[in-house]
């Protein structure tokens, strides 16, 4: 009970801090604008032979790339800033467990990302107006985005605990997210299968985010995908607590 209460208190403060700094608004606006322009302009969205205004191909292709930037940008300050300003000393001498603080802060940042993702709904409305999108694909696509963003954010959270510099965190987290995507794209997997054997390719494919994202955005919410993201998030948050504790000893 007190765990939930503590998480809620930390969550509330962190969410207000995100919006107080104005940065959250900036990130959300940039994300939404880029999502729209990439979808509508770059993708021949309105071309007559477009794939019948299906969201899967035209819209949900982009958020993954954009989230790769958004999640580190939103999450970079989570622990780096606490450590830079010394407020971590205040927070960790309050009567709460370290994981309460980690989860509360993480969920606050995740809320910002979710808000950004949901603000892309005009695209869905446009598609619904122009054609007849499959609802399953729309929900699957949004879930895929939130899970992907959540995973990238968890990585950022762990990196953020390692450094006092938000900018360093941004760059490292971005590189890690990019790397995690890259190890599972089809060309890499083919190369791995040819040169290092099928097992290596399988491992890479399941650790990387590419396949999980592409399956989900098609509306395939498989148990394996959900487990993948949840365990990745759990692992990264656990890593965050290990880093925070080991830094003091």
């Amino acid at each position: 009970m007190s765990a939930l209460k503590n998480i809620w208190i930390v969550y509330n403060r962190e969410l207000k801090a995100q919006f107080n700094s104005m940065l959250a608004y900036v990130f959300i606006v940039i994300f939404v604008l880029l999502s729209m322009s990439l979808t509508f302009l770059l993708d021949d969205f309105f071309a007559p032979n477009a794939q019948d205004a299906s969201l899967e191909f035209s819209f949900f292709r982009w958020p993954m790339w954009l989230l790769m930037f958004l999640a580190p940008a939103v999450g970079m300050r989570l622990w780096a800033e606490e450590q830079r300003t010394g407020t971590i000393e205040l927070l960790l001498t309050m009567p709460l467990a370290v994981w309460h603080a980690i989860v509360g802060k993480y969920l606050a940042a995740l809320s910002v990302i979710t808000i950004a993702i949901l603000f892309t709904f005009p695209i869905v409305i446009t598609v619904a107006y122009l054609g007849d999108p499959d609802n399953g694909t729309v929900w699957g696509g949004y879930l895929a985005c939130i899970f992907y963003g959540g995973g990238a954010l968890a990585i950022t959270c762990a990196v953020s605990a390692l450094t006092r510099s938000s900018v360093a965190c941004l760059i490292i987290a971005l590189a890690l997210c990019f790397g995690q995507l890259l190890i599972a794209i089809p060309p890499v997997l083919e190369y791995a299968a040819d040169n290092w054997g099928g097992r290596v390719a399988d491992v890479l494919g399941s650790l990387g985010t590419w396949a999980h994202y592409t399956e989900m955005k098609r509306g395939v919410i498989s148990f394996a995908n959900v487990v993948f993201y949840l365990s990745m998030i759990g692992f990264c948050l656990f890593l965050t607590s290990v880093v925070i504790k080991s830094k003091r000893s």
Partner: protein, 327 residues
């Protein structure tokens, strides 16, 4: 209430705190003194459960901090050294946040605001506060839940003289029914607010006692500063030196008809006042000034925490035969 046993902390190779033990009971105010880098803040961070000790234990009201840190943290109010604050919040929203975490309500926030004189700035954003107000906001945070134990790292740093006085009074008042540890570089503060003081140097406790006991350790303690006239200075000096119980006489000024200087006793007890007075009466000298030196805390502090070479240099100077007549 606070029991620290054989506490050590090393950062890599560096031993910041080296086997420190002490107790603070309810109703005691313990002053932490020591040069920069002595390990005061590190010790306090271990007491509050922020840093895990390399070895040793801390008990807060019988609770082992390593085993039940949340239980211990509930009982402690802590003002960290740099008075860190969430600068994007206002004073009152920050204090409300702390109150929520501490399970306290609006009235406690208001009380803390009053005690720390934060009324005029309570709606102001913390990043626009002056240094003193920032410090007071962080102090308010530490006393908000009326803790049994207070750990204050340099609580008067950055405050104006009036506020320094207020905070000292506050510490003294709260010390009556709490156990308080506070660190400071201002030695008068120790005399003003502490019931006990510990001097730490290079991670070790080098002195522990009531401020008055510590003061008595000063080399100047118990000596008499005198000004006597009616005879040649050199004569007065040799008369003073011949009093039994006088170790040496240091000369400040001497003329054809007067002498002023310091009479240093062989033991650190001031029993020479009467003898000096009697001497003047017998010889018909005029005792213009007679003052007992109490011994100053900063003197003790310097003597204890100075490196060995510095102290021996000083001793050589003191025994300069030009100025001092040995008993």
């Amino acid at each position: 209430m606070i029991s620290v046993r054989n506490l050590s902390k090393s950062f890599g190779q560096k031993l910041a705190v080296d086997d420190i033990s002490f107790e603070v009971k309810k109703g005691e105010v313990l002053g932490f003194l020591g040069p920069n880098g002595a390990g005061k803040s590190t010790t306090m961070r271990m007491v509050t459960g922020y840093l895990p000790p390399t070895s040793g234990e801390v008990f807060i009201d019988g609770i082992n901090v390593a085993e039940n840190s949340i239980g211990a943290k509930q009982k402690i109010g802590y003002l960290p050294e740099a008075a860190p604050l969430y600068s994007d919040m206002t004073v009152s929203s920050f204090l409300s946040f702390i109150a929520e975490l501490r399970g306290k309500g609006k009235s406690d926030v208001e009380a803390a605001i009053d005690i720390c004189f934060l009324g005029p700035v309570k709606r102001q954003s913390i990043d626009t506060l002056s240094k003193g107000y920032r410090h007071r906001t962080c102090l308010a945070q530490s006393i908000l839940h009326d803790p049994e134990i207070l750990v204050l790292d340099e609580p008067t740093d950055g405050l104006d003289p009036n506020q320094k006085q207020e905070v000292r009074n506050l510490i003294k008042r709260m010390g009556e029914d709490k156990a308080i540890i506070f660190s400071t570089h201002i030695l008068e503060e120790v005399e003003a607010a502490c019931t006990r003081a510990i001097i730490i140097d290079q991670g070790r406790v080098v002195a522990d006692g009531a401020p008055n006991d510590l003061k008595a350790k000063a080399s100047g303690s118990g000596s008499h500063t005198v000004k006597i006239s009616g005879m040649a200075g050199s004569g007065i000096r040799s008369e003073l030196s011949s009093i039994s119980g006088v170790k040496m006489v240091r000369e400040f000024a001497s003329s054809e008809s007067s002498f002023s200087g310091q009479v240093i006793p062989s033991k650190k007890i001031n029993t020479n006042g009467e003898s000096i007075f009697n001497l003047c009466k017998e010889k018909g000298l005029l005792l213009e000034e007679l003052r007992v030196e109490e011994g100053r805390l900063d003197e003790v502090f310097r003597e204890i925490t100075k490196t060995d070479t510095e102290i021996s240099e000083r001793n050589v100077k003191e025994e300069d035969p030009e100025k001092v007549v040995q008993d």
